[in-house]
């Protein structure tokens, strides 16, 4: 009830002070705006790399992941030059260019899909969940898993977690939304400052400000009450893909795996430092997105890549070679590395360490030095980012 009342207060604060009907219409428009900017457009953008992704991996969840790992680096590529090169109202410049970029990318995704359909190269997106194929026991486990997700979303909406960093990150989004400048005003106090280099390369708060501008929603509401409904499911899509890959030959265990993953998040608050704690208490912060979405995505992609390359090897040995390379997966890994930079500078370095260690062991396991070279190539964004970070700090 209180929440319902405050929804009205919130909409009033957004400039809607007319009749109840108008308020209802505005709320519906804002909800449609959220669906457009956080679901529909990322999905359309995610269609772009689909033709380079192995066909058994093509599903709605993967398109959604691809959409985010393209959209967020695009945001970085527009925002950082705007911060460094535009003196006044840099956010306005960013909004204009990024909107054009989003429109082009979404149109490209739809056009490529239409072209694939026309050329009869389109592979239907597999539903991630085929209800009729599973046993009653699995159905119960899936229901339990979905109930745990619903529980997490319900808690994310109805509970608030105090975190001092919000005074910086959430206020940063609001400063951007309300002042049209980026990283020139101290979020803590409002005083002006020289460019805040340390935080200006991790532009997730600017993306939140952008969505706030396009939907007309206060960025704090967006961060605390809306984003968990996107980032929590997005993270579970990654866990789902990992589980699916790990349990390819024991598919019946997948729902149990997912239940465990959900329980580990809910009971993962062993300290304030764990990624699980960040996941459910600081969902909207770049650090949380990096730890819970980007790093598991790197694991997932490397798992896919090495399994796929091994399949090719087996097929070649069995004279059943099929031309389907892993280029699309390496491309997604490159984009995942760029997404790390959007979230937080630190995970750019840590992500590179992780890829290096996995590639090292994979090189030994596969006895292929080329693994290290490919891993080195996908870490180019990390190296470029770190060089830029160091140059701006000098």
């Amino acid at each position: 009830m209180r929440i319902g009342l405050n929804l009205q207060i919130a909409t009033c604060n957004l400039g809607i002070k007319n009749s109840e009907t108008e308020q209802t219409v505005m709320i519906v428009v804002k909800i449609l705006g959220i669906i457009l900017w956080m679901f529909v457009l990322p999905f359309c953008i995610g269609l772009i790399p689909l033709r380079w992704i192995p066909k058994e991996k093509k599903n709605i969840g993967v398109v959604f992941i691809a959409g985010y790992v393209i959209m967020l680096p695009m945001c970085w590529l527009v925002t950082v030059p705007a911060i460094l090169l535009v003196k006044y109202s840099s956010f306005l410049v960013m909004v204009r260019i990024f909107t054009v970029g989003m429109a082009i990318a979404a149109a490209a995704g739809v056009a490529l899909s239409a072209w694939a359909v026309r050329k009869k190269q389109w592979v239907s997106l597999k539903p991630v969940f085929r209800w009729t194929d599973v046993s009653i026991e699995e159905k119960i486990e899936w229901i339990l898993f979905l109930a745990l997700i619903a529980f997490q979303l319900y808690k994310a909406f109805t509970l608030t977690s105090f975190d001092g960093d919000d005074a910086e990150y959430v206020a940063q989004s609001l400063v951007t939304q309300q002042s049209n400048t980026m990283y020139l005003i101290k979020p803590y106090t409002g005083g002006t400052t020289s460019l805040d280099i340390r935080h200006s390369l991790a532009v997730l708060p600017i993306w939140i400000a952008y969505v706030g501008r396009m939907t007309g929603i206060h960025t704090t509401i967006l961060a605390h009450s809306v984003i968990p409904f996107v980032f929590i499911p997005l993270t579970y899509v990654v866990y789902f893909e990992i589980g699916k890959q790990l349990l390819r030959k024991k598919k019946e265990l997948l729902p149990a795996f997912m239940v465990f993953m959900a329980l580990l998040q809910i009971f993962g608050n062993v300290s304030i430092y764990t990624n699980e704690t960040f996941f459910l208490t600081r969902t909207w912060q770049g650090k949380s997105l990096a730890a819970n979405f980007v790093l598991p995505l790197i694991v997932c992609l490397l798992l896919w890549i090495f399994d796929k390359e091994n399949e090719h090897k087996t097929r070649k040995e069995g004279r059943l070679e099929e031309k389907e390379n892993t280029f699309g997966l390496w491309l997604l890994l490159w984009l995942a590395n760029m997404t790390a930079g959007v979230c937080t500078s630190m995970v750019v370095f840590l992500g590179a360490v992780m890829i290096a260690v996995i590639a090292f062991w994979m090189m030994i396991a596969e006895r292929k030095f080329s693994v290290l070279i490919k891993a080195g190539i996908v870490c180019i964004p990390n190296v470029a980012y770190m060089i830029l970070y160091l140059l701006l700090h000098i």
């Binding site: 024991k250 699980e276 630190m346 994979m362």
Partner: protein, 273 residues
């Protein structure tokens, strides 16, 4: 080097919170070390975590990390985020259940095997809950009072003092417990000090905050001397502290008292702008 290593040990202990989840993870790792036959899985879920653990405790790695992160040694725990502990526990758990089922197949009926598998899965679910800590019972969690997820008190105070559209931004002073939230609601309200002054670990000092942060009493005369120098027109006093003199004696106007926080307007500061 030994000192750096011991610091890493302390960081690791703090990260695990001395709970049993870490034991669950280590058992899972050992289980996969012996039972995982796929060399690619072993590379990602056994050798990589072991290498990352080694790196975490390796003093030179920590030195490089701190150097690259501009001295941010207190975030070193984030190296542990690279180890997919949750995935390893969940994978080892389902693998154990499947293994038992396969081993017992033929010796017991299929129905018994299924029950055995279910029992293992249920036991692991209970173990996860028992070894971990329920996130929603955290001391930092509370019921959301509005869609902003900010204290309603702060919103009410901000609505009272915020400038109208087109008006200049205002300067204000808030009690320590409210400074985190004000500018998450309205950035037209500027503050003489913010979160950077109230976090004890950063040890910054700011004279207005020093006065406001006095544990028992606030020296109004001293406070106004400083706030008027900086054209601060709104002062929100704490709801649990005494003041040396009535603020009204110095020309302040009480606008309202919200949840025990007296909200004052300072016409003197406003007129000197």
């Amino acid at each position: 080097m030994y000192g750096i290593f011991m610091e890493s040990v302390v960081i690791f202990k703090n990260y695990t919170g001395n709970r049993l989840t870490i034991i669950l993870f280590l058992l899972s790792l050992v289980f996969l070390l012996f039972m995982e036959k796929d060399r690619r899985r072993r590379a990602i879920f056994v050798y990589t975590p072991l290498t990352l653990l080694f790196l975490f405790f390796f003093p030179i790695f920590r030195k490089v990390f701190v150097r690259l992160m501009s001295g941010e040694g207190d975030t070193y725990y984030r190296v542990l985020w690279l180890i997919p502990m949750g995935i390893i526990i969940a994978y080892a758990g389902v693998k154990l259940a499947a293994l038992l089922y396969d081993k017992l197949e033929g010796r017991i009926s299929s129905n018994q095997g299924n029950w055995m598998k279910r029992a293992v899965l249920a036991a692991l679910a209970i173990a996860i809950a028992f070894c971990g800590k329920y996130v929603y019972a955290s001391q930092y969690m509370s019921k959301a009072e509005n869609l902003y997820h900010l204290p309603q008190t702060v919103i009410d105070i901000c609505d009272l003092i915020a400038p109208e559209d087109g008006e200049e931004r205002i300067w204000s002073v808030f009690p320590t417990d409210l400074v985190y939230f004000v500018r998450q609601y309205d950035t037209d309200i500027q503050m003489l000090y913010g979160r950077e002054m109230v976090e004890p670990k950063w040890q910054y000092a700011e004279p207005v905050h020093t006065i406001m942060n006095n544990p028992t009493i606030i020296d109004i005369e001293e406070l106004l001397k400083l706030t008027r120098e900086r054209y601060c027109t709104y002062i929100v006093l704490p709801n649990n502290k005494e003041v040396t003199q009535a603020p009204e004696n110095f020309g302040l106007e009480l606008l309202d008292t919200i949840d025990g926080y007296p909200v004052y307007y300072d016409p003197v500061a406003a007129s000197t702008k």
